[in-house]
């Protein structure tokens, strides 16, 4: 495999900077306006991951190499970490894991295309559900069972169904993320092509 050129690295840096800028501005404000406990079904993290994936996958269109999305994510995570309000480990780790999952999606899709991008986006967004458990246990020291029960309770209230329908609630949580990720991937493909068209003018 060919090594990354100066152009590739610059493109990665630019897309990482765009994602980082969005995390530092839009992400920080959204986290303050909508704290995680008040948005059980789709939180700020999910929205920001979808936006970040759009940026990272457009970047992949310009640097179609394995590891490009991960590098964009690492740059974005470091920029966020070194910003005034972003010195938190949990979102940094989430960004990196999501990028790894997106890389897996792109690897499975083999060729860049709308469906491959949708798969990558969906896989990345699914992590936002599991990160709730991971983050609560690792960073906040909460009991996973309690997190799960709390999630079911909040989900049942948001969906207006009984708590006993746990599978339906979990499926709804995952389905929302898969659809959001798929749409983000598809949008990335469309936007990437639009950017190419603009640059070709």
């Amino acid at each position: 495999m060919r090594k990354l050129t100066t152009r590739d690295l610059t493109t990665i840096a630019i897309f990482g900077a765009i994602w980082g800028a969005l995390e530092m501005t839009l992400g920080s404000y959204l986290h303050v306006i909508f704290p995680p406990v008040t948005t059980p079904l789709v939180g700020t993290g999910t929205v920001m991951t979808a936006i970040g994936m759009i940026v990272a996958l457009i970047g992949y269109l310009f640097v179609p190499r394995a590891g490009a999305v991960l590098m964009i994510g690492v740059v974005a995570a470091i920029l966020k970490a070194l910003s005034i309000s972003g010195a938190r480990l949990s979102p940094m780790l989430a960004i990196i894991i999501e990028c790894l999952l997106a890389e897996l999606g792109l690897l499975l899709a083999r060729r860049p295309g709308p469906w491959g991008f949708a798969l990558a986006g969906a896989l990345a967004l699914v992590w936002t559900f599991f990160h709730k458990f991971f983050g609560s246990y690792v960073f906040l020291g909460k009991d996973i069972t309690k997190v799960y029960l709390g999630l079911l309770k909040q989900g049942s209230q948001a969906l207006g169904i009984d708590v006993s329908l746990a599978l339906v609630i979990i499926a709804a949580f995952l389905l929302i993320r898969v659809i959001a990720g798929g749409v983000a991937g598809w949008l990335a493909w469309e936007l990437g092509r639009a950017v190419r068209g603009r640059l070709a003018r």
Binding site: V75, L140, R198
Partner: protein, 277 residues
């Protein structure tokens, strides 16, 4: 942060890592600089990047594993370390946004965590939620300060060298460029948004307007990227060449790592003994 001339940004980023290595003296003398690459001060200090890294890893691990009230011991240790070695990082405590995040975790937990067993001013609250929120807040504070301490003492170039040492070649250059283009991207995004808003771009078909805005920002940034590539290539930058050497751990780094290990064991051991019995 101050924006640099875009054309020179990439080349400056490329040379930044090497310049810092050259300016490093023997015996732990270290030069610190701002994000935009301007030399601010050269100071002699005992801890190297390894010391700050072990502090970060130790603090985060202890904050995650320390049970209940012992998190405050870890918080105390982290605050002391920050005050002694990276006082600038305590500026985080002056950020209103940071306290808003902390307060939201503390105030909302009694409403959302655990069984509501207390009534205060007519509000049904959970005692368990209050304590959980308090420990959560202490953990968040500890990790936030530790991370800020690490970030305030480690320059972009050192971080880049560290990452390159871990096998992520090219990331140092990418990080340098990203830091340099960040203020330019933010400014051009704000300009594009204002221009579109003044032309009534967001009154109708908001989604289409957002799409146009993103395309404009990305296309504009990539055009600027071409200038960075030209500047870097003109200065014979080669991403395949190692950008700097890893600093060797100093005696103080080893001592700090040992102290963190002992401190961590002292805080966590009673908990493990309790679990075993």
């Amino acid at each position: 942060m101050v924006g640099l001339g875009v054309g020179a940004g990439g080349a400056r980023a490329a040379g930044q890592v090497a310049r810092e290595q050259v300016r490093k003296g023997a015996g732990g003398a270290r030069a610190t600089m701002r994000m935009h690459g301007e030399w601010t001060q050269v100071e002699r200090q005992a801890l190297s990047v390894w010391g700050y890294l072990s502090f970060l890893v130790g603090a985060v691990a202890m904050a995650m594993l320390a049970p209940g009230p012992r998190v405050f011991v870890v918080l105390g240790l982290v605050v002391s370390f920050c005050a002694l070695f990276c006082a600038g990082s305590l500026r985080l405590l002056r950020q209103r946004q940071f306290w808003l995040l902390i307060a939201s975790a503390l105030l909302l937990s009694p409403f959302f965590i655990g069984e509501k067993d207390v009534t205060l001013w007519g509000l049904r609250l959970s005692q368990q939620g209050f304590w959980a929120g308090l420990w959560m807040t202490a953990r968040a504070l500890t990790m936030g300060l530790a991370f800020n301490g690490f970030a305030s003492r480690i320059s972009v170039a050192e971080l880049a060298t560290l990452l390159e040492g871990a096998g992520l070649r090219g990331l140092g250059f990418a990080l340098g460029v990203a830091f340099n283009v960040l203020p330019i991207i933010q400014q051009s995004a704000a300009d594009a948004y204002t221009a579109m808003r003044l032309r009534g771009g967001f009154r109708r078909e908001r989604f289409s307007a957002l799409k146009k805005l993103l395309v404009t920002i990305v296309a504009g940034s990539l055009r600027r990227g071409e200038e960075i590539v030209d500047a870097a290539e003109a200065r014979a930058f080669d991403p395949a060449r190692p950008q700097g050497q890893m600093a060797r751990p100093t005696h103080a780094d080893v001592l700090l790592a040992f102290a963190l290990l002992c401190g961590g064991l002292a805080i966590l051991l009673p908990q493990f003994c309790h679990l075993c019995s």
